[in-house]
């Protein structure tokens, strides 16, 4: 168990290092006016904190830097919520107050504002369409052989695919197909769509219209969706301003990581709904060893729908980011839920 003084010292080390990015020395700590001990005493305490694994030296005679364990302790025990400035509150309200219609726009703007306010990088995982339910099918013919298949979901998302029509497929066949699909599949979630299509409609379709196998295959194709939401970035280049990214190799590694969708998605921990913090190696990804990720999820209606992540250096302003994320999460949830419930 840490003594009170040790807690104080750890807190100063983390706070100072977060703002200055420089190792913190005993003299620097002793200067804080709420710290009464002399540098020598602090050095002794620091030696103990180091032995306990909370802080590290970058070389024999340098000041101390928080270790991952140190950050973890800080985050778990020393973090205190802070309130936001008026400017910040204003910015948030500006996204949500306008009667905004396009969900995509709200999300895009949220990502930008978050990254502006934090000067870190924001990743926003959009609502996962696979939970949405089919509201309406539509097939619009483009030519003799091609058409566009459209699915509108209950909260206004539109999916579309180009499909190939069987030879000699008449407009009436299209109409029949659309009717069959709408009769049987409205209300089905996109996740189940593929199997329900297979079980309930293909046979019926074969009976009523001139269906070729290629057409069935096209329809299968229509019912295939990405099983993760769309990814939005904010402030991708903010990271380059952080001193830990003076190393070009790190920059490249991170940029390449962010180009790969699957790797980006693996940064999120979607198990749970609260705010989560992963520090450095806790992310299980070499590229992220010097970075921390803070995630939160927002909901639309009752479902947990999407996630927000902020990526910054391990030396991140955890307090601030956690507070901002919390506000943003609830703001987004409220804004998007209103939009959907708007008269259901």
């Amino acid at each position: 168990m840490l003594t009170n003084r040790q807690l104080q010292i750890l807190q100063v080390i983390v706070d100072d290092f977060v703002t200055s990015a420089q190792p913190v020395g005993s003299r620097q700590i002793s200067k804080k006016d709420w710290i009464t001990s002399s540098p020598a005493t602090i050095r002794n305490e620091m030696a103990d904190l180091e032995e306990l694994g909370f802080i590290e030296k970058t070389h024999t005679s340098s000041g101390r830097v928080p270790s991952e364990k140190g950050y973890r302790f800080y985050v778990d025990h020393l973090l205190q919520p802070i309130s936001m400035s008026n400017r910040e509150i204003g910015l948030f309200q500006s996204i949500f107050k306008n009667q905004i219609v396009e969900m995509e726009q709200v999300i895009r703007e949220s990502a930008n504002i978050l990254s502006d306010l934090t000067s870190y990088t924001t990743i926003l995982l959009g609502p996962n369409v696979s939970k949405h339910r089919v509201k309406r099918f539509q097939i619009v013919p483009l030519s003799e052989q091609t058409a566009v298949a459209i699915i509108v979901t209950d909260n206004g998302h539109v999916e579309n695919r180009t499909i190939t029509l069987p030879q000699g497929f008449a407009p009436s066949d299209i109409e029949k197909t659309v009717n069959i699909l709408n009769e049987r599949l409205v209300g089905v979630s996109l996740l189940e769509l593929q199997s329900r299509l297979e079980l309930e409609t293909f046979n019926v379709l074969r009976q009523h219209v001139n269906t070729a196998d290629s057409f069935i295959q096209s329809l299968r194709n229509v019912a295939t969706f990405q099983n993760e939401g769309k990814i939005y970035f904010g402030g991708k280049t903010n990271m380059l301003n952080q001193p830990e990214f003076h190393d070009l190799n790190k920059v490249r590694a991170l940029m390449e990581m962010m180009e790969k969708e699957s790797q980006v998605i693996s940064l999120f921990h979607r198990e749970d709904t609260g705010i989560h913090i992963r520090i450095g190696s806790e992310n299980n990804h070499i590229v992220m060893d010097d970075l921390s990720v803070i995630t939160a999820s927002y909901s639309v209606g009752n479902d947990q729908e999407g996630s927000i992540a902020i990526i910054g250096p391990k030396r991140m302003d955890y307090q601030r980011v956690v507070s901002l994320l919390d506000v943003m999460r609830s703001g987004l949830s409220r804004a998007l839920s209103n939009k959907v419930n708007d008269g259901l």
Copy 2:
């Protein structure tokens, strides 16, 4: 007018500098076996070439480097088409041969393959929707107050917007609206849609359905499109491997530039249809002073539809990139045109 020997020397300087990124010295040039002169002679010629502005020294006693004027001359007079390797041809065919349905996927893949083959960055400007023509309108109600408006264009593109319905708007009103829109606006290009909507349909709508001003405003909104195609990137991080990007500030400036849509679009010169090369400061953008951009446009059907750009260091392999771009341009045009004409 340059002598034959001067041409040879300039060519070697550009070619060698392109591959090595190191200033080229007289000895190095004399080693090429098709160069017969001695280093001293070459030095004299180089002094002349420098006086003419085709090459430069980085410092008093360094080898020579092509100037912008030198590159420009090289590109205008010394460039010779090269043929592609089997591997490359194979890669190209792999995109186009599969019966691909989604235009977006073809474009995305093209961008990736181009950047893989060149190890530069590719920007692909997708087809500009504003030239497409309306094939079908559709309005799908989501709730009492909201609906999704959908426009399908003649080549299968789908645009959609969420709109707000006037109070007490009945399903039959929606049907009437859709009918009026389809009767009057099918075949109109998206570019003209806004004005035609204004002139020809709003009055009719006011007569036949319970139209609120907010509804009219929503429809106006529906008819507003981005007037440039969507932007696709390939190999955004390739640039980081170029030695000229060892400078972090340049990296940041470039990355920030690529985040801004308008700046990216200004890189294209869409006046004309051929292959265009802009070298360094010819791009009129500080960030691009050390970079060259090669652009080409592809067409779908008869219209010039989209553009491809490859961004690399000024010290770029112009021959190779021009050849690749030429193949890609015609491949893309053919693939996308087939897709559209497919039975018109």
